[in-house]
């Protein structure tokens, strides 16, 4: 798959704004959480920031790099781990093991055996983490265990999941929409997603 769309100035501004929002939450932190949750959120938003900067520097072509695939796996894994550590601390160790195994699975298959195996592992890991990011905040908000605004994190999860699924279908050669269209929406969607995450966490404090 060759990503040909050139990045525009507007794309760069949107990505920078997403990066600054992520940087803000790294600095401000999220109140009332365990150390594991703090580390996980820092990792998630830190990777969002670094990914945004790399996209600005290297353009959309970087999305094909194994390094970025690995970095982008850390975002949903650490975000979902943070949510579990913050709200279901009893399960945090179990999910930490799942996250580490999943991450290592992606790294090993991506570097040692690229192809169908790596795509399946990647889809599985992203799928599990994505569902958790989407469903848990909604459930927590609706059940009153978190503030209503926390549901925005679920919205952000759904949006980033959409992008992920679109890119995955693109890689399989059965695109839902054209790559030009996906990439034209990508920076804006990443900004909205990050804004939803940040707002969700801030409104839950």
């Amino acid at each position: 798959m060759i990503l040909t769309r050139k990045m525009t100035a507007l794309d760069r501004v949107l990505l920078l704004a997403a990066g600054l929002l992520a940087a803000y939450i790294v600095v401000a932190g999220v109140e009332g959480m365990t150390l594991l949750a703090l580390v996980s959120y820092t990792l998630a938003f830190g990777m969002l920031l670094v990914s945004g900067l790399l996209l600005i520097i290297l353009g959309f072509e970087i999305l094909e790099s194994s390094l970025v695939v690995i970095i982008s796996t850390m975002i949903p894994l650490s975000l979902s781990l943070g949510i579990i550590a913050q709200h279901w601390s009893a399960y945090s160790r179990v999910y930490l093991v799942v996250a580490v195994v999943g991450f290592l699975g992606v790294v090993i298959t991506r570097l040692a055996a690229p192809g169908v195996a790596s795509t399946v592992v990647l889809a599985l890991v992203h799928g599990v983490a994505g569902i958790l990011i989407f469903a848990l905040p909604l459930f927590l908000s609706l059940s009153g265990r978190a503030q209503p605004g926390f549901a925005l994190v679920g919205l952000g999860g759904a949006l980033i999941g959409l992008v992920g699924v679109s890119l995955a279908f693109l890689k399989t050669g059965r695109p839902l929409v054209s790559k030009e269209r996906i990439l034209s929406f990508f920076p804006g969607l990443l900004l909205i997603t990050t804004a939803a995450f940040v707002a969700g966490f801030l409104l839950n404090q």
Partner: protein
């Protein structure tokens, strides 16, 4: 009248090109960060403006003098042959005069602002022009160490001006820049390897090979991240800012590791660009934190 005005504008544009505005801007930012890490909020605008002005002139002057001395090298390299001196848009004597005037103004102003500050700015200019460019650049690939020493002087000068003395945090900040320089310059010398070969400039990739150079980049990136981290801690940055500094450093280390273990032209270029962004962000963080 209009022709005269257009001619001056054209000349000023050429002079501006010769100051390498982006590089000068980055070094100026490190100086401001060093100053503001020691004295924030800034209450004496006279000193701040004096520092910014003198540092800008001194850095620009040394850059122009470097271009004057290296005009024969620049003419042999595709990347630099368009510059005003090799392209014969500015004469060597004119460039020398400009470089000396900017340097003298910058150093003079800096000494007027503060003697210790002025001495450090002078040391930076001396290491850059005399030790790095004139003495070592054409002799050894290790000249970049001295280029790094001069690159670390603006932040040290800024901090010394803020404090009135040289402290370990200033030295660490300077060390951070010194260790960042190999990441910046060596990725560049790999990207333009053929250019440097054509000009006969000794570089690490040519002398020790690309893989060894990548390891040097990775190790110096770790050193730079550690130095900046400890300096940020020493300055008294709050935990949130330290977390962000750690994240930015993590990105630098990740790219350095990627460049070493799975080298590619794209990763190398990404590391080069990110390293500049990293240094700018780290310095801006110090400024923002201080405000």
């Amino acid at each position: 009248m209009r022709t005269w005005s257009a001619s001056i504008k054209r000349k000023l544009r050429l002079y501006w090109t010769m100051t390498k505005s982006l590089q000068t801007g980055l070094l100026l930012t490190t100086g401001l960060a060093g100053f503001m890490s020691a004295r924030c909020p800034v209450i004496n605008w006279q000193i701040l403006l004096g520092m910014a002005g003198s540092l800008f002139l001194a850095i620009s002057g040394s850059t122009v003098l470097n271009m004057w001395y290296d005009r024969d090298i620049d003419a042999k390299m595709k990347r630099t042959c368009w510059r005003p001196l090799p392209a014969a848009q500015v004469s060597p004597s004119e460039a020398l005069l400009l470089g000396l005037a900017l340097s003298a103004l910058g150093i003079g102003w800096a000494l007027g602002v503060d003697l210790l500050y002025g001495a450090i700015v002078f040391a930076g200019l001396f290491f850059d022009v005399v030790v790095y460019t004139i003495w070592l650049k054409r002799r050894t690939a290790w000249s970049i160490v001295w280029g790094g020493v001069s690159g670390g002087m603006p932040v040290l000068a800024g901090r010394a001006l803020g404090l009135g003395t040289i402290d370990w945090i200033g030295v660490l900040l300077s060390l951070g820049v010194l260790l960042w320089i190999p990441t910046h310059i060596l990725t560049f010398s790999m990207k333009y390897h053929d250019d440097y070969q054509a000009a006969g400039v000794p570089t690490f990739p040519a002398q020790y090979g690309f893989q060894a150079t990548r390891w040097v980049i990775a190790i110096s990136s770790i050193g730079a991240a550690l130095a900046m981290g400890f300096a940020a801690y020493g300055v008294g940055m709050t935990v949130g800012y330290l977390r962000l500094m750690a994240v930015l450093s993590g990105g630098l280390l990740l790219l350095a590791a990627g460049s070493t273990l799975r080298p590619s032209e794209r990763i190398n270029f990404g590391l080069f660009k990110y390293a500049s962004l990293y240094m700018l962000s780290a310095m801006l963080l110090m400024v923002i934190w201080g405000i």
